[in-house]
C-alpha cells in the first residue's frame, strides 16, 4: 500500500470523526474545537491533492482567525443545550430523509463523474510547479472581473456589519491620543508656594507635606487634557 494512501485514510477518518463530534458533543466549546480539528484535517487532505495554497489558507483564515473569534464568543456565552435538543425526535425523520438524499446525490454524482470512464488519476506535478502562482495568474488574468466583484461584495458586507453594530451614545467618552501627548506639565500641575509661618490656612491644608513648596494637582480648574 502507498504511504500517501495510508495518510489519506488516517486523516479522513479523523476528519469524519471530528465532524460527527461537532454535532454530537454537548459542550459548545468542545464542538467548536472539533470543528477546528475538522478544518485542520481537510487542510491536510487538500495538501495531499497538491492544493497547497488553498490548504494553508484554510488553516490561516478559518482556523487561525475565524474559529478564534468563534471560540471567543462561544466561551463567553452560557448556552443551555437542553432546549435546543427538545424537538430532536420529532424532527428526526425529516432530517434523516434530507441527510440520506444528500448522501445519495453525492455518491451518484461522484460515481457518475469519476468512476466509469473519463478521468485518469492525475499525475503528480513537478517540484518547481507553484500552485500559488497558478492560482494568482488565473484569478488576476482570466477571472479578474469576477474576482473584483467578489471583493466589492465583501467590502459591502464589511461596511454593513460595521454600520449595523455601531451605536453612538452621546455620553461616551473617547480618548484622543493626539491631544494627550501634547499635554504639558503646566496643563496638569500647579506649583503653589506656601509660607508655613504666615498663612495658617494653607499650611493646614498641606500639613502632611514638608514646609516650603508643595505640588498640588489642580483637579477642578484644569483642562482634562485628552479627555472629552
Amino acid at each position: 500500500m502507498d504511504l500517501k494512501l495510508l495518510v489519506f485514510w488516517v486523516f479522513s477518518l479523523v476528519l469524519v470523526g471530528a465532524a460527527v463530534g461537532v454535532i454530537t458533543t454537548r459542550n459548545p466549546v468542545q464542538a467548536a474545537l472539533f470543528l477546528v480539528l475538522a478544518f485542520f484535517n481537510s487542510a491536510i487532505i487538500w495538501m495531499l491533492m497538491e492544493a497547497e495554497f488553498l490548504a494553508i489558507t484554510l488553516v490561516l483564515v478559518y482556523v487561525g482567525a475565524v474559529m478564534v473569534l468563534f471560540l471567543f464568543v462561544v466561551m463567553m456565552l452560557d448556552i443551555n443545550l437542553l432546549p435546543m435538543r427538545e424537538g430532536f425526535s420529532r424532527h428526526l425523520p425529516i432530517g434523516a430523509t434530507i441527510a440520506a438524499s444528500v448522501v445519495v446525490l453525492m455518491v451518484l454524482l461522484i460515481r457518475g463523474q469519476f468512476a466509469g470512464s473519463g478521468f485518469e488519476q492525475p499525475l503528480p506535478k513537478p517540484a518547481d510547479y507553484s500552485n500559488t502562482e497558478q492560482l494568482g495568474l488565473a484569478i488576476y488574468t482570466d477571472y479578474l472581473f469576477q474576482f473584483e466583484v467578489a471583493a466589492v461584495i465583501l467590502l459591502v458586507a464589511i461596511i454593513a456589519a460595521i454600520a449595523l453594530t455601531m451605536r453612538r451614545r452621546p455620553d461616551t467618552k473617547y480618548q484622543r491620543p493626539a491631544e494627550q501627548v501634547l499635554v504639558k506639565k503646566e496643563d496638569r500641575l500647579r506649583v503653589v508656594s506656601v509660607n508655613s509661618e504666615d498663612n495658617q490656612d494653607i499650611a493646614a491644608q498641606v500639613a502632611k507635606k514638608p514646609a516650603g513648596t508643595g505640588a498640588v494637582g489642580n483637579g477642578q480648574s484644569a483642562e482634562q487634557g485628552g479627555q472629552s
Binding site: M1, D2, L3, K4, L6, V29, Q30, L33, V36, E52, F53, I56, T57, V59, L60, V63, G64, A65, V68, L69, L71, F72, M75, M76, S130, N131, T132, E133, Q175, P177
Partner: protein, 338 residues
Amino acid sequence: MGFFEGLLFLIVTVLKVLLIIVPLLLTVAYLTYAERKVIGAIQVRKGPNRVGFAGLLQPIADVLKLLTKEVLVPTNSHRFLFLIAPILSLAPAFAAWAVIPFSDTAVLADVNAGLLYVLALTSLGVYGVIVAGWASNSKYAFLGAMRSAAQIVAYEIAMGFALVGVLMVSGSLNLGDIVRAQEGSIFHWFWLPLFPLFIVYFISGVAETNRAPFDVAEGESEIVAGFHVDYSGMAFALFFLAEYANMIMIAALAVIMFLGGWLSPVPFLPDGMFWFFAKTAFMLFFFLWFRATFPRYRYDQIMRLGWKVFIPVTIVWLTVEAVAILLDIGPWFDIRSA
C-alpha cells in the same frame, strides 16, 4: 514511492527534525539565561551566578526543578483540554521551523508557499492560550485567554500586511528565494526599502508572542499570571518553551525577510549559517531589551496601536511600494527587469 521507501524517507526526516529541535531546545534554555543576565545588567544586578560557572548551569537546574514538580489539575477543570493545551501551544511553535532556511542548502522542507505556512502556524499558537484559559475554569485564566485572542487576531493582520510587502519585492513565497532576492550587501537587504514594514513586523511579532510590553495575557499585576495561572511543573514549562521558541521564530523570520538571512553584510566576507545565527541573536536581544525598559501597555492602547496605527501604516507603505515597483526604481524595486 512504495511503502518501504516512504518509511525510510520518514525515518530520515525524523532524524533531520531532531537535528533542528534539539539545538532549538538548548537555545530556548540558554535564552532564558541570557534574558536574566541581560535584564540583570540593565538593572545593575548580576543575574544568575550561583549554579555552575557564572550561573551557566542555571537553565539545567530550572529544568530539573520543573521536571520534578507535580502537575496539578484543578478539580473543576476540563481535564483533557487542560492537559492538551500546553502541547497545542508548543506544537505549532516547533512545526514552523520546518521551512526555515538556515543557509543556502540547509532547510528541512523547501516548500513554495513557505511564508504562508509560517503565517498559518504562528496563528495556531493562540489555541494553546485560549484552550488553557478556558479549561482552567478560573476567571483570571479566562481573562488572560480573552485578551490574548483579541490581541493575536489584531496583530496578525498588521503582520500579514508587512509580509505582503516582502513578497512584493522578492516575488516569491519561498523563504529561501526571499533571502536570495536580497543578495548584495547590507544595503540590498529589505530592511532599508521596507523600513516601516520592518518596524511594524517586529513590534507585531513582539505582540504576537505575548512578550513585554504587550504581555497583558499574563499581566502579573492585573490577572496574576493570566492563562497559565493554574499550571504547574512541566505543563507550565511547556508554555514557556513555546513562548521562547516563538520568540526565536519571530527573530529568525525578521532576519530572513528583512536582514538577508544567511547573507554576509559586506561582499568580502563569505555567506554562511553563522550570519543567520548572529543576526537572529541580535534581533533576540531587542526582545530582552524591550522587556527591561518598557512599562506594560494598557489594553485599549494595544488595540489602538494594532488597528489604528500599524494597519494604516502598512497599507500606505504597500501603496508606495507598488508605485515604486511599477516605475522600476532600483536597486530594490526593479524586480520586473531582474
